[in-house]
């Protein structure tokens, strides 16, 4: 896969993550250049695996305990680990990414075990990369490990396989 294709993936991932964090009151700017991923302070991580016919991988969200504690919607008196919130953020970023990929005709499912153990890499036959995005302040890092044989073609606007309501919209069935 060409390098510019990976910049497309990078754009999708960073823009989705920035939108998602905004919902939780955290403003992020991603860092375009290589920088040390580890910032200062105590960090917490959560990972979600995913897999499909044309793409598989994992997304790990790592953030400072301070940031997650500030952003979590859980009442402070409840002893719920911040790693669960980090994992839920990864889940919601993947949900946003999935919505954008559907417009390119690509879909995947969430996996509850390492999909590499279920689907040999040779079967997918794609190129593998690790995209590491880090916010400018160093509070948040995203590690996106993906094997894909997909070139992100221009979106076909005539195809709208997702519902028009964005996050937070109510759809009565």
């Amino acid at each position: 896969m060409e390098d510019d294709q990976w910049s497309n993936w990078r754009f999708l991932l960073s823009s989705t993550a920035i939108e998602l964090f905004e919902h939780y009151g955290v403003s992020l700017h991603d860092e375009p250049h290589w920088t040390p991923v580890l910032g200062e302070g105590e960090h917490v991580a959560g990972s979600v695996y995913f897999g499909g016919d044309r793409i598989q991988g994992a997304l790990t969200v790592c953030a400072t305990r301070e940031l997650l504690g500030r952003a979590t919607p859980v009442p402070p008196e409840l002893p719920i680990p911040l790693s669960d919130f980090a994992r839920e953020i990864a889940n919601q970023i993947l949900g946003g990414l999935k919505t954008r990929l559907i417009r390119h005709g690509i879909d995947f499912s969430y996996e509850f075990a390492d999909p590499a153990a279920q689907l040999p890499q040779s079967q997918l036959g794609g190129d593998a990369r690790t995209l590491v995005l880090r916010s400018v302040g160093g509070e948040v890092a995203l590690m996106f490990v993906v094997t894909s044989n997909v070139d992100l073609a221009p979106v076909d606007d005539s195809v709208s396989p997702e519902v028009p309501q964005g996050p937070g919209g109510l759809i009565l069935l």
Binding site: P73, V74, I80, E88, Y110, P161, V163, L172
Partner: protein
Amino acid sequence: MTIPASMSVKTEMGHRGARTVLVIDDSETIRAHVGSILRGAGYEVLEAADGLMGAFTIRERAADLCLVICDINMPRLDGLEMLEILRGQYPKLPILMLTTESRVDKVERAKKAGAKAWIIKPFKPELLVEAVSKLTATPESPSRIPSQ
């Protein structure tokens, strides 16, 4: 997948005025967040961490429930599979899907299985309360259709 018979115990009619919501999600954060919002709005809240425990809780506590809020992507039994297993058994129990999924085909599948509403995560608390209020506005709580 079928729910073991030993899990199916409660079949009597539900009572009017139930104010208990069952929240099914594998994220503790989401369960706690939704629970906190709904308790603040005057509801009782039960929790289940996957579709299997959700189905079990519905069968155990259907008479007490006014609403089920259900995620889709969960281990063991996902939310759509759970709905399809329970399809038609609790016609008066409204189900709200709360998920990151946005595919039309999944929305249609949920509708066929009996879901009444769909919210894509992340969500605003006031929208959730509004949706729950709309869905629980019916005068009766759920009753179960006897097994054939």
